[in-house]
């Protein structure tokens, strides 16, 4: 066994071009193993480019880029088998059914197929849906299939680009559980999102990008503890970690707190608050 990695992702003064335009303009970013990092920023800030660069899909033209111990400038494809990406597109074959798409993706990644049934069941893709062509599924169902691929592959690095898009409330909650479980299992997660209310409660840290660089960075109070057991739900798992919030808190539903909450700003809750 080698020494544990200091960073799952390390970008130093990394530059990436699309044509002649620098979509990453000397970005510095380090993500610890087991960390959930949210990438925020306006359209065109470079969130998707960071994810694509970490996947080795966007070449780094200068600077350093090391992902899971692999130098992407030398071999962009080196880490790919250990990286799972959920992008805007689901990367599924319309003509194949749900099960066939999963089998292909999992076998291609060299992972065992024994996790497929569990992943499908977890995402609610059971019964006739398993044998339904992906081309006949709704956008939300396609998203679930793409998520099932990630769950069955169990990559070491999860790159999620707007993962909550097209998902209903139940699926969003499930996504939160899956992300927390993946991290508990040792995975690292980079999550680009325009929906802070959905993404930030899961994250240890958030960085704001603009112009292909990090312009702001803040800890969200949860400690990166690496692999640890999680409860049966995302809410329980989130509540198990100490929570400190530096800004305002806006909650659209009920709040159940098992421990302490420290908030430096205002708290706005439209539902009930239960504090044990």
């Amino acid at each position: 066994m080698g020494e544990p990695m200091a960073s799952a992702v390390s970008l130093r003064a990394a530059v990436a071009l699309t044509g002649r335009f620098p979509v990453l303009a000397g970005i510095d970013l380090a993500v610890a193993p087991g960390e959930i990092l949210v990438l925020e920023g306006p359209n065109g800030a470079g969130k998707t480019s960071v994810l694509r660069a970490c996947a080795g899909l966007l070449p780094i033209t200068s600077g350093e880029a090391v992902v899971l111990g692999h130098d992407l400038r030398r071999r962009p494809s080196a880490a790919r088998r250990h990286v799972g990406m959920l992008g805007h597109a689901a990367a599924l074959y319309d003509e194949l059914n749900v099960l066939e798409n999963l089998r292909f993706a999992v076998r291609a990644a060299g992972a065992g197929v024994e996790g497929i049934d569990g992943a499908l069941e977890r995402l609610g893709l059971v019964g006739r849906l398993r044998r339904t062509s992906v081309g006949r599924l709704s956008a939300g169902q396609r998203r679930r299939v793409a998520l099932a691929v990630l769950l069955a592959r169990r990559p070491a690095l999860w790159l999620l680009d707007e993962p909550h898009a097209a998902l209903d409330a139940a699926a969003r909650s499930l996504l939160g559980e899956i992300i927390l479980e993946a991290v508990a299992g040792g995975a690292t997660v980079l999550l680009a999102s325009h929906e802070p209310e959905a993404a930030l409660p899961l994250a240890h840290r958030a960085v704001t990008l603009a112009g292909g660089r990090v312009v702001d960075e803040r800890s969200l109070g949860r400690l990166v503890t690496g692999p640890r057991p999680v409860g049966p739900s995302a809410a329980a798992a989130a509540a198990a970690a100490p929570l400190a919030v530096a800004g305002d808190v806006h909650v659209a539903g009920d709040v159940h707190v098992a421990g302490d909450v420290a908030v430096a700003g205002d708290v706005h809750v439209t539902g009930d608050v239960h504090v044990a």
């Binding site: 080795g56 790919r80 088998r81 689901a90 990367a91 074959y93 003509e95 194949l96 292909f104 062509s133």
Partner: protein, 224 residues
Amino acid sequence: MWRDALLVAGKDLRIELRSRVVLNQVAPFALVVLALFAFALGPNRAPMVQAAAGLFWVAVLFACVLAVQRSFALEAVDGTRDGLRLSGLDPAGIFLGKAAAIAVQLTVLEVLLALGVVLFYGAHVHSYVAVLVACAAGTAGLAAVGTLYGALAAGVRVRETLLPFLLLPVVAPVLLAGTRAWQVALGTGPGGDAADPWLRLMLVFAAVYLAVGVMIFGPLQEAA
């Protein structure tokens, strides 16, 4: 590499079985090409028999372009091309798998076209060995070079028109050698072992492009 090739070939062939694009669209197109040539050459069978070998291979080339376009169109929607790159599959395996799937589809098309040549043009086969070897070598060569150029064109927006422009000149040796070998096999060319050098040329063409594809498909896939 071989495991990955089997996986990719199985995936592409399963998609073809479901969509039947090659069987329901490309095969009829190729047969229509043969029929149109027959109309153009007139009611006299002699010129049709004389031209049968060349027309067969021209129809195979047209069908090959469509089969290659279809193969890479699968990877052009819904981010599947990135998905394939991210999958961790060996690029050489992807190349061999896609080429194998195209070769299987071309083989089916060639059987149909050979029947068409016999039915439409009244051609008679004198040497089945030459016909089979020419088809096997030609298919392997066309599938290999088609997969390479398909990957090259896959990254550009005008791939539908660019691919035939790039591919057809490169496969001219297959057209030439295949036609010569088939002329011998159909008894419309010189007899004896006159087909042998042409068959060797087709085998070398296939071997070279298969080897080149295995070596450069990875960088090509990244650059395209």
